[in-house]
């Protein structure tokens, strides 16, 4: 695979797409952040999930399967002719971990949004990316009525690895959202360095 903008099999110039995830607890501002930085209105796409029902008799010839769908929000930032950045909000429901697996496959990094009123809601996301080895940062979404803490205090409360960047943000503001993404990309680039040499 070349690293240039053209696909080997096609010879046609198509940009390279890269993906980052916006994770965090329920209602923490994931969709708001995607919408603030995206050049398109946040879109929604659905994955069909088929689960075999318990106690299906294989010989009956009847496929007793249940299908549900899980929705993902996403947005886009066109960087230049060569690169397009896609941002995917992770589904809030923990029972869809396998969708997280699909989303994080090939992701260059993740932003875990946190709310100081409900810090524990960000633990599952932090645990998940730590376990997977996905580069991530934590961005504290500063809701107006939430108590203010210093970044260091929150870092301590979250028991974060010292090298994981933590910053304060306002998910509603494009400038703030871009700062978050820049911090993530700088962190992810540093993490990728050993593999590059």
């Amino acid at each position: 695979m070349g690293s240039g903008p053209s696909d080997v099999s096609s010879g046609t110039a198509l940009p390279m797409a890269i993906k980052v995830l916006i994770a965090g607890g329920f209602g923490v501002g994931k969709t708001t952040l995607v919408g603030a930085v995206s050049e398109i209105r946040p879109m929604r796409t659905e994955e069909i999930i088929t689960e075999a029902s318990v106690g299906v008799d294989d010989t009956s010839g009847v496929e007793a399967k249940t299908t549900t769908t899980v929705a993902m929000d996403f947005g886009r930032i066109t960087i230049n002719d060569e690169v397009v950045l896609y941002l995917f909000g992770t589904p809030g429901q923990d029972r869809f971990w396998f969708v997280w697996d699909e989303l994080s496959m090939g992701a260059v990094g993740a932003v875990v949004l946190a709310d100081t009123r409900r810090l524990a809601a960000s633990f599952p996301s932090i645990d998940y990316f730590e376990r997977r080895g996905t580069p991530f940062i934590v961005a504290v979404n500063c809701f107006d009525d939430a108590p203010r803490y210093s970044a260091d205090d929150v870092k301590l409360a979250l028991n974060l690895d010292p090298d994981v960047p933590l910053m304060l943000c306002d998910a509603r503001l494009p400038t703030s959202g871009r700062e978050v993404l820049i911090t993530l990309m700088e962190h992810a680039m540093k993490k990728a360095e050993p593999a590059l040499s």
């Binding site: 796409t45 769908t69 494009p174």
Partner: protein
Amino acid sequence: MASADDRNEDVWHDEDAGPVVRPYAMTRGRTQPARGEFDLISLVVATRSVPSVAAGLQPEHVTIMRLCQRPLSVAEVAAHLNLPLGIVRVLLGDLLDKGYILAREPQPASHMPPERIFKAVINGLRSL
């Protein structure tokens, strides 16, 4: 842009999960594309102008051809069509098989993008 948002408001903007009845009826039961992987962020683009339905295509194929006159990700195609990803992958596979579209898969998951891509993204974000 977000044309899918205008239809089926209650189906689309529902809970995170809801039942889907016979989801693969549109693909006549096919759940895997004939060709291609079609990651969420694979970019697809049409190789020709929009063909007529008479060319043995379903209306959804034609809609994809119309959307993909400029490069779009698989996720965007699915969102515009208001169809689940699995179905859209099968439809895209049909078009790839006919040579009507080209696809660029993202870097393999085991590979981080080269440093110059990171730098381009950082500079791009700074200049927005």
